[in-house]
């Protein structure tokens, strides 16, 4: 083709000295200024940070709701929250934590880190990336605005029918919940697709499958779990909306529907959901431990296989949420077995981590402290998980505070502690400044003690007959003293998050300057500057080992990419041999416009099905605008 001729005259990085190269790349990859430019951004780092900040705001909001609930439950027959408000509050807490914090915050780290770790200049489909962020933002804000106007979902984060159906959930509360699910699922699925494509095609030359950093493996498996798990909740929440809006009969037993159909569809997503949150967390741990043990990870291959096995098994467990709903005995014992099996890969990971620490020379920085907190608490959560996997035990503890304790040990101990560790670990890379170690230790001790003191007693409360989701309990129940202690400890836990927030805000301005590689870590993101330039890497690294920065002789580099237009190298899927030079999309306002039209359509459809018909047109227009190529071939997506 004619472009062949054109190519030769293009400016190449090979022909440039470093300083000029930086200047040209900075121009090429810069994000335009102004409001339009701010909304048009396609830089994975910017989008990742926006994801992170938004998710943390939702964490704070949902955390305050938790405090409100503990206030109400601190004393028997308490009157802080009435039943109607309490139901909205615990539903908003669960929904926000799972859909608006848990998954998105992990997406934030995947979006920010994966391109840096595989050594490319931007994520695959960056416009889809910014679109996904706007969808997530609108979905979450919509849910909270509704809540502010007494239209907060009140049927639990699982919205069991018929309680969430047209007859027993009057008004629009549940419709907002179901539509919010649609928003966040669109976002999560988009991110999953970008991550898969990035990891398959945009790894730095030489990063063979066996050299992929473990966090990237975790991100890959997570993305596949999203791709196979999330459609389930899309289908079920769509059916719920249809039941509520146009009177379909999916969940109406009187007309051939079934209430348990919802539970099957929801938990087929709902259980993998836990692993969508947990697998990236294990990725954090696998990235942090080698750095602070100052040695390569012990058992790379077993760890990768464990991740993959967990991903597969996570789809074989959903029925263990339904043991009490009346499932044939044979079926339930199968799901007991599979639920127990998933403990094996998790065990493998834990043993390998401990072995790495044993063989290494640990440095007790805050990230490692939270890693320790993770192992100590998560093992408890895992073991109580094995308990609830047993049908008979589950029949006693299901829907009690024992289960509340269990999944907070799994999700806070197993995901939030690693998350905090990850924040302390990668904060220098993202901001160029270190976080305060002194505050870090306070943060650690308050979080560790506050969490265990707040949640361990819940095991006993549950065994003592306290069900979940009750807005009050009688004095005679004898649950009062322990609930008071739990509430008090919850305040300590909350304080630890205040310190974390303060540490972040303080360190952004006053933190110690961090070099490119303050922890002396081994993976690619630490080769580039902190914070990284818009183009991530001035020269594309060539990878020769799984911890390239720890191999003697430094990194080899590739050259020959155009620098006056956005270009990145596409490598083969398995061997990561250089294969193509593809152009990476420039900033565009269209994803934002598409998100606006799509949001209007989805919100409108809460009130009338016709919104979808009328909305289809503007959505189509914006999508065409998005994909219509611009003048120069390089700008094509």
């Amino acid at each position: 083709m004619t472009t062949e001729v054109v190519k030769e005259v293009h400016l190449r990085d090979s022909s440039l000295p470093d300083n000029e190269l930086h200047a040209v790349l900075a121009r090429t990859w810069a994000t335009p200024r102004g409001l339009i430019g701010w909304l048009s951004v396609v830089d994975h780092k910017v989008v990742g940070i926006r994801y992170f900040i938004t998710a943390m705001v939702f964490l704070a909001a949902a955390g305050l709701l938790a405090v409100a609930m503990r206030l109400q439950l601190a004393r028997p027959e308490n009157g802080v929250l009435g039943p109607d408000l309490y139901d909205q509050v615990f539903t908003m807490h669960g929904t926000t934590m799972m859909f608006l914090f848990g998954v998105p915050v992990m997406e934030a780290f995947m979006v920010y880190l994966v391109p840096l770790m595989v050594g490319t200049r931007n994520i695959a489909f960056p416009r889809l990336n910014s679109f996904s962020y706007y969808m997530y933002l609108v979905g979450g804000v919509m849910l909270w605005i509704a809540f502010a106007f007494n239209t907060g979902a009140d049927a639990g984060w699982f919205s069991y029918v018929p309680l969430a159906g047209p007859e027993y959930a009057p008004g629009k509360r549940v419709d907002f919940w179901a539509q919010m699910v649609t928003f966040t699922e669109i976002a999560a699925l988009s991110v999953a697709i970008e991550i898969i494509a990035t990891i398959f095609k945009q790894r730095a030359p030489g990063m063979r499958l066996d050299r992929i950093p473990l966090f990237v493996w975790a991100a890959l498996v997570t993305s596949f779990v999203i791709v196979f798990g999330m459609p389930s909740v899309m289908v079920s929440s769509t059916m719920l909306i249809l039941d509520r809006l146009v009177s379909t009969q999916f969940f109406n037993p009187a007309e051939g529907g079934d209430a348990l159909l919802w539970q099957h569809l929801f938990w087929f997503f709902g259980h993998p959901e836990v692993y969508i949150i947990f697998l990236p967390a294990t990725g954090f741990i696998s990235a942090i431990i080698p750095t602070f043990a100052r040695r390569p990870m012990f058992g790379y291959l077993p760890l990768v296989l464990a991740l993959i096995a967990t991903g597969f098994l996570s789809f074989g467990l959903w029925v263990h949420h339904m043991f009490a709903a009346g499932i044939p005995a044979l079926g339930s014992s199968f799901f007991t077995a599979s639920s127990m099996m998933i403990a094996i890969p998790t065990g493998v990971q834990i043993f390998c981590w401990i072995a790495t620490l044993w063989l290494g020379r640990p440095v007790f920085a805050t990230p490692l402290l939270f890693t320790i907190a993770f192992i100590v608490t998560f093992v408890i959560g895992g073991l109580t998980g094995v308990m609830v996997a047993s049908v008979p035990i589950d029949l006693q503890v299901h829907d009690t505070y024992f289960v509340v304790a269990h999944f907070h040990y799994v999700l806070v101990g197993g995901a939030v502690f690693p998350l905090i560790a990850a924040i302390y670990y990668w904060f220098p890379k993202a901001t160029g400044r270190m976080m305060s170690e002194r505050l870090g230790r306070w943060n650690f001790w308050l979080a560790f003690i506050g969490f265990n003191a707040a949640f361990f007693p819940m095991h006993i409360l549950g065994l003592n007959g306290m069900p979940r989701r009750i807005y009050t309990y009688p004095l005679e129940s004898g649950w009062g003293s322990m609930n008071f202690f739990v509430s008090a400890s919850a305040v300590v836990l909350a304080a630890s998050f205040v310190i974390l927030a303060w540490n972040i805000i303080y360190s952004i301005r006053k933190g110690e300057p961090a070099g490119p590689n303050p922890w002396n870590a081994g993976t690619l993101e630490w080769t580039t500057t902190s914070p990284p330039q818009d183009y991530n890497f001035a020269r594309i690294p060539v990878v020769g080992a799984s911890d390239p920065l720890w191999t003697a002789g430094g990194l080899a580099e590739a050259h020959g990419l155009k620098v006056e237009s956005r270009e990145l190298v596409v490598t083969t899927t398995a061997e990561a041999q250089p294969d193509l030079r593809e152009s990476s999309p420039v900033p565009s306002i269209w994803p934002f416009l598409a998100a606006v039209t799509a949001s209007a359509t989805l919100i409108g459809s809460i009130f009338t099905p016709w919104a979808v018909v009328w909305g289809a047109v503007p959505v189509g227009v914006t999508l065409i605008g998005w994909f219509w190529p611009k003048s120069v071939p390089e700008d094509e997506e």
Binding site: F125, E557, W628
Partner: protein, 197 residues
């Protein structure tokens, strides 16, 4: 400055698994396939818990659905050629193929309009009606999006943008059409023949 690996001789666009877009399309197909599988699973689940099936309605009328099935199966052939022409970057033939595929798509959409009444049950009559409309609706949405995509691509091919990367887009679009056809087959059997057993 040490240069260990020279990328300057690499092509700027490729086809199939070599490209990023192909894997993106494949991921989309996978998640939509999962959605179809779950909807089909729902149909079978509802069938299994209801003693008689179809519920209070005659089996759907065969004609429009069968026409669509036939046309779709037939369309696989030109679609296959189109993909090859795209790989050969043969603009005139690609244009012709795209126009043909667009027209086939529109034709199928029109027939689909006649298909819904042939279900002979409203979505709010009972769960049977609901899942029928859901399955057909779900597939129609995919049909709509792909036909729209094909038409836009056709338009593109008659502009100055009909260059390298468009051809691999055309191929990916063809792959997606195969998926739309493939996903229809089990639904066709489910909607029209299972109730007749």
């Amino acid at each position: 400055m040490k240069g260990d690996l020279d990328l300057s001789k690499l092509q700027t666009h490729g086809f199939g698994p070599r490209t990023t877009m192909f894997w993106g399309t494949l991921a989309f197909i996978t998640l939509e396939g999962t959605a179809f599988a779950l909807a089909i699973g729902t149909y079978l689940y509802l069938m299994s818990i209801n003693p008689q099936w179809p519920l209070g309605a005659p089996p759907p009328g065969l004609l429009p659905g069968s026409i669509i099935t036939f046309v779709m199966l037939a369309s696989v052939v030109p679609n296959h050629f189109l993909k090859n022409w795209a790989r050969e970057e043969n603009l005139p033939l690609v244009r012709a193929g795209l126009v043909l595929m667009s027209m086939l798509g529109i034709f199928i959409l029109v027939i689909r309009g006649f298909e819904f009444p042939q279900l002979k049950v409203s979505w709010d009559t009972n769960a049977y009606g609901s899942i029928l409309w859901f399955l057909l609706g779900l597939h129609t949405v995919h049909l709509l999006t792909d036909v729209a995509d094909t038409i836009v691509l056709t338009a593109l091919m008659f502009t100055r943008h009909a260059t390298g990367k468009r051809f691999s887009d055309t191929e990916d679009n063809g792959v997606y059409w195969d998926f739309v056809v493939l996903s229809w087959m089990p639904i066709y059997v489910l909607l029209y023949w299972v109730p007749r057993w």
